[in-house]
Amino acid sequence: MTKGLMGALAVLVVAAGYARAQSDAGTLKGIEKYREALADDNPADLWEARGAELWSTKRGPKGAPLAQCDLGKGPGVVKGAYAELPRYFADADRVMDLETRLVHCMVTLQGFSPAEATRRPFGNGSNRSDFEALAAFVAAQSRGAKMSVSLDHPKERTAYLLGEQMFFYRGGPHDFACATCHGESNKRIRLQDLPNLTDTKDAQRAYTTWPAYRVSQGELRSMQWRLNDCFRQQRFPELKFASETSIALTMFLARNANGGVFSAPTIKR
């Protein structure tokens, strides 16, 4: 165990039973003010613009755009699509989240191989990821929509239950589960308040604000990245991009946010 991790664990343990003192209230208000000051003019808009272009650019062996991709509401319908994902897709006979569906369209519409399509899931500076740009574009088209993820199909229900199981599954060298940080109210890590993802209001607020421009990353990050990075912080094995587990977890979180008004892409620390 590294020293840094020990420290983080210690903080977590302290935070678990910590009751907010008066001085904290002032600090938290200050942070609220900071968040508000950043809310407009979000660099995420730059990714959204790139995503819009990628959506309509002819690419790949088939020289086709993604523009006819069916995100669940019909070919080419982007408006409101993100608020209904993940969902079951008959043409693939499986539940897919946004990125999985985009890979599907890159393969079927544009002729890329799955390996080519998933070459770069997450961007880093000048090494851009198409998925992050597309996620920003697609998500922006769901702003104002209410989360409405369906559990009508048996495979959707299976995905949800698998996600739930994963959420509470303790593992890795530190015996962490998602629930360790996100299963109780009023917890924080340093000055980051942690949403209780088993509480409806917190779950709605958390899910409807991703994808987000992450200031600490200097990048637009999606739900796939968010989950991958949680796994990294828990010292779990790497969460594979667009894997069944990642889709299941997203299903669990998205469904729990049903009724919440979608507002992403947002800006976060």
């Binding site: 407009d40 003019d41 979000n42 660099p43 808009d45 730059l46 790139r50 500076g125 200097g218």
Partner: protein, 103 residues
């Protein structure tokens, strides 16, 4: 070719309010990469803005300006339909020019 800026120019009373989002790494030259090598400084050094061809702002920037910079300013004497042009130049000599209409 650098990515386009996102420029929004709108009337706020009798002033034109301009808000710009630029796409740039704004690398300080003090960060190290995974191999331990210094990532060279790469940042916007100058920004100029003009309204219908007349200068309305000029700026010198250092690397302490945040990545994907934001800039907001306002000036008098503009109206709907006028053209705003923003130019940035960085320390490597790269440059980007974008325009927007006051709407």
């Amino acid at each position: 070719m650098a990515d386009p800026m996102r420029i929004r120019a709108s009337m706020q009373g009798d002033k034109v309010l301009v808000r710009v989002l630029m796409s740039h790494e704004m690398e300080t030259g003090q960060r190290k990469d995974e191999s331990g090598n210094i990532v060279p400084a790469h940042f916007i050094q100058s920004v100029t803005a003009s309204h219908n061809g007349k200068p309305v702002l000029s700026a010198e920037w250092g690397p302490a300006v945040s990545k994907n910079p934001f800039l907001q300013f306002q000036f008098a004497g503009g109206k709907l339909g006028d053209k705003i042009q923003i130019i940035w130049t960085d320390n490597k000599g790269d440059t980007r020019t974008d325009e927007a209409i006051v709407s």
